[in-house]
């Protein structure tokens, strides 16, 4: 096991260099002048600066390998560059925005997994009957629904009509508390910080702001978990030990909970780990609709504005997360299922 982990750790920088190289080369197809345009916001800037000076200033005419190695060198010094779209240093921007995304991902994870498993179980238990079809259609609609449409419907109804779940991360009054010197921000995740500050008003307000994006994300992902749970459960339902359990006269509910679902959860647990990463990376639209200022929204804005330093920085960040999550999932898999022999 240790050898396996060490081998995966050694492989980590190679993967990361590959990721950055790919994105860097792709963006280098833009001309230096196109890249410079990301910096120009008004004709006034052209009055005192010319494009060539800006190209020189940012070293955009240097050969690609020089620009790439310059960026890598800076990276090793902890400098990912300055993001024009975020108006701050890339590392600073990631640090500022990541807690929001992490909080949303963690809160979404619970309904996604529990809801998905529940739906998958219903579907498997009513195999090829009405409830199976209905559950699957319900989940597939969510999977097929563009997230901005789902998000906007949620926002329009639950906030616009009912006034329940507002956009943003906190209400104005709660922000006043959070930004006051008396409130210590330990993690940047408002729910966690509110608990640590023993402030339940802020906690509930933060939860209230998390509900709508969480439901939107959950509905999008339920089909994924449902499908894995359903097929895994159908597989287990046909096993001899399930038949034996039923033959012993065990009640169906106990058969399902003790013998079927527990064994069917192994593949679900595996994908659930990777799904956290999927949630982290795939929530840009949800963050935009609900004005949840996270890293997904940050990266999308950067891409729209040709802010390649930010795009490269966040790609690297996601690369680290991806490789780390893969490693953790593999190790967890080995722990959950002793039949797996990694060595």
């Amino acid at each position: 096991m240790l050898t396996y982990i060490a081998r995966r750790l050694l492989f980590l920088p190679v993967v990361l260099i590959g990721v950055t190289l790919l994105v860097f080369v792709a963006m280098s197809f833009l001309s230096p002048y196109q890249l410079v345009s990301a910096y120009i916001k008004s004709p006034e800037e052209l009055k005192n600066q010319n494009l060539d000076a800006l190209v020189r200033k940012y070293g955009l005419n240097d050969p690609i390998h020089i620009r790439y190695f310059r960026w890598l060198g800076n990276l090793l010094r902890g400098d990912l560059g300055y993001s024009q779209s975020a108006n701050m240093f890339v590392l600073q921007a990631i640090k500022a925005r990541f807690p929001a995304t992490l909080e949303l991902a963690l809160f979404s994870f619970i309904p996604v997994v529990l809801g998905g498993i529940w739906l998958g179980t219903i579907s498997a238990m009513h195999h090829n009957r009405f409830l199976d079809h209905a559950t699957r259609i319900f989940a597939i609609i969510g999977w097929s629904l563009p997230s901005f449409v789902g998000g906007l419907i949620m926002l329009m109804y639950f906030y616009g009509v009912l006034g329940w779940f507002p956009p943003g991360r906190l209400s104005t009054w709660a922000y006043q508390i959070v930004l006051s010197p008396e409130f210590r921000q330990y993690t940047g995740m408002h729910t966690v910080d509110a608990i640590l500050n023993w402030n339940w008003r802020v906690f509930w307000d933060a939860v209230r702001h998390l509900i709508a994006p969480t439901i939107t994300l959950a509905y999008l992902w339920w089909a994924f978990i449902l499908r894995i749970t359903r097929s895994s459960m159908l597989d287990v339902l046909n096993k001899d030990y399930v038949r034996t359990a039923r033959a012993k006269g065990l009640r169906e509910r106990l058969v399902i909970s003790r013998h079927v679902r527990r064994n069917a959860m192994i593949p679900v647990a595996t994908v659930a780990g990777l799904m956290v990463l999927g949630l982290l990376g795939g929530m840009a639209i949800t963050e935009t609709v609900f004005d949840f200022k996270g890293i997904g929204l940050l990266t999308t804005t950067a891409a729209q504005q040709l802010d390649y330093t930010m795009v490269l920085g966040s790609t690297l960040f996601y690369g680290v997360l991806l490789v780390a999550a893969n490693l953790i999932v593999d190790v967890m898999y080995a722990i959950i299922d002793p039949r797996v022999r990694l060595e």
Binding site: S37, K47, L51, D205, V289, D291, K293
Partner: protein, 610 residues
């Protein structure tokens, strides 16, 4: 059991949804929330040159003078106790010396008392920093007759061209400082500006709220790493990276509010009231500007009352008009215009995709196509201004009468100007190139920046109308990415191009110079043909207009320039757009000034919450 669990979960969701709003205070009368889009560039008045930054700076700083109400040419004292005029002796007879008596007892946000030295430091520090692309050229032009600090170097005997200011001879650097320092000095309780020439808009440059003229705290600035005020050290702070500037993310002024937090992760700026404000504390205690890119979200926040005011894009205004509790104020006159400019010397080689054959043969346009005044006039007559304004702009724009928006002083509203008249357009086309153009025809591509539907429609209107005059006239309308558009523009490769100009200060000079002067912002894009014409016919008048010592003299000069702009058809000025404001009906005290950067002046606002 499972069903019960689900029911409990749904019930909990409902409880959180319903109870939590009850915990919140509904529409706190002392807290104002403004939902905007975008973000701020910098909070340093010496650097900021965008309206989003100006919106914040406006709330936190005072200027020497301010505009009187919503007038553009009348002022009231602010940090000065009097508005200088020749009548009160504070402006010298030759108009080149202006004295400001500085108000006593005014407190900065940290309690320090304002002195004339703060005012002197404010302007000297800005000029010696002169951030590239920033607004400080507006002081160099009146005070030293140049555009940048670099231009001062040859004035004091330094080299014409150099790469690095910090590598210049220290003696030259000292002379640069002396030259700058002499333009603004403390004399007792007064601050005296010495101008290179009489310059009427100088007072407007000083009066614009949320701008380069905001007075900063010298003592606090030096203690926090800004220029130390010494004559030989300034170059260390010359053209600095914006994020290294002392006021980049902090404020320290005498204004009614101070920035408490620029909360980057939350995308918002929080203001707190400055209780020691010299004009009395504001009615609002806390103000949030929340930067939310999604328009629907902003509108919903406004409808639920979570936001007191919101920026609503023009195409979404119908969603908020006639909504109970929401006030929509439209047709506010901002000082800006949008124009189709002509390139008098179109490069032909390598530009065939736009200019076709590059000859007067019906398959393209020659390099000097727009150098012919009849062609320019024909284009200007062929545009249906009224239909465009009514149907495309939904009536929220004015039809221009010249290069300067008609809200400005010195604009002759009776000046004959182009209107939609295809017969006149035909007559002009028949005269062009001695009648040759009419017989041979032309083919031309009009480009617009992709995504700008307003410009696309303007180009299509022009295309349809011109093509209807003569079947030999062919126009293609083509979109181009903004970056590529800028690249082509920079290379002066576009035969015609769209541009908007938003004033820096409300004076006609700020429009005649960019549009018609040979050194103006657009001159390079319009080719050598325009530069030559400008040098011969426009420049002397523009220079005379800005240095004229009396208003009557200026009025006369700009009348001539406006007539000349019509006679020469320098460009097709087609709209002067207006703005709108959208807020809740409990918002009171809204005031509008077309020159101010801030869309809302928080000091004047209060909330009448029942």
């Amino acid at each position: 059991m499972r069903t019960k669990l689900v029911a409990v979960a749904i019930a909990a969701l409902m409880v959180v949804g319903m109870v939590a709003p009850a915990l919140a205070q509904k529409t706190d009368p002392k807290t104002f929330v403004y939902a905007m889009f975008g973000d701020v560039d910098s909070l340093d008045p010496a650097y900021a040159y965008d309206t989003a930054s100006g919106e914040v700076i406006h709330q936190c700083y005072d200027n020497l003078v301010a505009y009187d109400g919503n007038k553009l040419d009348a002022f009231v004292p602010m940090l000065a106790t009097q508005v200088p005029t020749k009548a009160n002796g504070l402006i010298s007879a030759d108009g080149k010396t202006i004295k400001f008596p500085i108000r006593k007892g005014v407190k900065f946000h940290n309690g320090d008392i304002l002195t004339p030295a703060d005012v002197e430091y404010t302007f000297e520090r800005a000029m010696l920093a002169d951030p590239a692309g920033g607004p400080i050229w507006m002081f160099f032009e009146p005070l030293l007759g140049v555009q940048t600090l670099r231009d001062v170097v040859p004035m004091v005997g330094g080299p014409e061209k150099f790469d690095d200011m910090s590598k210049l001879d220290p003696a030259i650097l000292r002379k640069v400082y002396d030259k700058v320092a002499k333009t603004v000095e403390v004399e007792g309780d007064y601050v005296v500006f010495r101008l290179a020439m009489p310059y009427e808009p100088f007072m407007q440059i000083l009066a614009k709220g949320g701008s380069w003229s905001s007075i900063v705290n010298k003592k606090w600035m030096i203690a926090n790493g800004a220029w130390d005020g010494k004559p030989d050290t300034w170059v260390k702070w010359y053209d600095p990276p914006k994020e290294s500037m002392t006021l980049y993310e902090r404020t320290m002024g005498t204004g009614p509010f101070k920035v408490e937090t620029w909360d980057r992760s939350g995308g918002q700026i929080v203001f707190k009231r400055h209780d020691g404000y010299w004009q009395g504390p504001a009615k609002l205690e806390t103000v949030f500007i929340k930067y939310i890119d999604e328009t629907n979200t902003r509108i919903l926040m406004l409808k639920t009352g979570e936001a007191d005011a919101a920026y609503v894009d023009r195409q979404y205004l119908s969603q908020v008009r006639n909504v109970p509790g929401i006030v929509v104020i439209e047709n506010l006159p901002v000082i800006t215009n949008t124009t189709l400019l002509f390139n008098f010397t179109i490069p032909v080689e390598g530009n065939e995709d736009i200019v076709g054959s590059g000859k007067l043969d019906g398959n393209g346009v020659p390099s000097n196509f727009f150098a012919d005044v009849n062609v320019r006039r024909a284009f200007a007559y062929a545009f249906d201004y009224d239909t465009y304004i009514q149907q495309v702009m939904e009536g929220r724009a004015l039809k221009p009468v010249g290069p300067a928006p008609q809200i400005l002083p010195y604009v002759n509203k009776n000046q004959e100007w182009f209107k939609y008249d295809l017969k006149k357009a035909e007559a002009e086309f028949k005269k062009a190139f001695g009648g040759e153009l009419w017989n041979k025809g032309f083919k031309l591509t009009i480009l617009y920046n992709t995504g700008n539907e307003l410009r696309k429609t303007a180009a299509e209107i022009l295309e349809a109308n011109i093509e209807s005059i003569n079947p030999k006239f062919k126009i293609d309308v083509q979109g181009m990415q903004w970056s590529t558009y800028l690249g082509k523009l920079r290379a002066s490769a576009l035969p015609v191009f769209f541009m908007g100009w938003h004033m820096d200060y409300p004076d006609v000079h700020n429009f005649y110079f960019p549009y018609m002067h040979s050194a103006g912002a657009f001159a390079g894009y319009c080719g050598q043909g325009l530069i030559d014409l400008a040098k011969a016919e426009f420049d002397p008048l523009i220079n005379q207009g800005i240095s004229a010592s009396t208003s009557a003299e200026r009025a006369e000069v700009y009348k001539k320039l406006q007539a000349l702009a019509f006679e020469k058809a320098v460009a097709m000025f087609y709209i002067e757009p207006t703005e709108e404001r959208v807020h809740r009906d409990w918002v009171k005290g809204f005031s509008f000034h077309p020159a101010n950067s801030a869309r809302y002046d928080f000091y004047s606002l209060w909330k009448d919450v029942k």
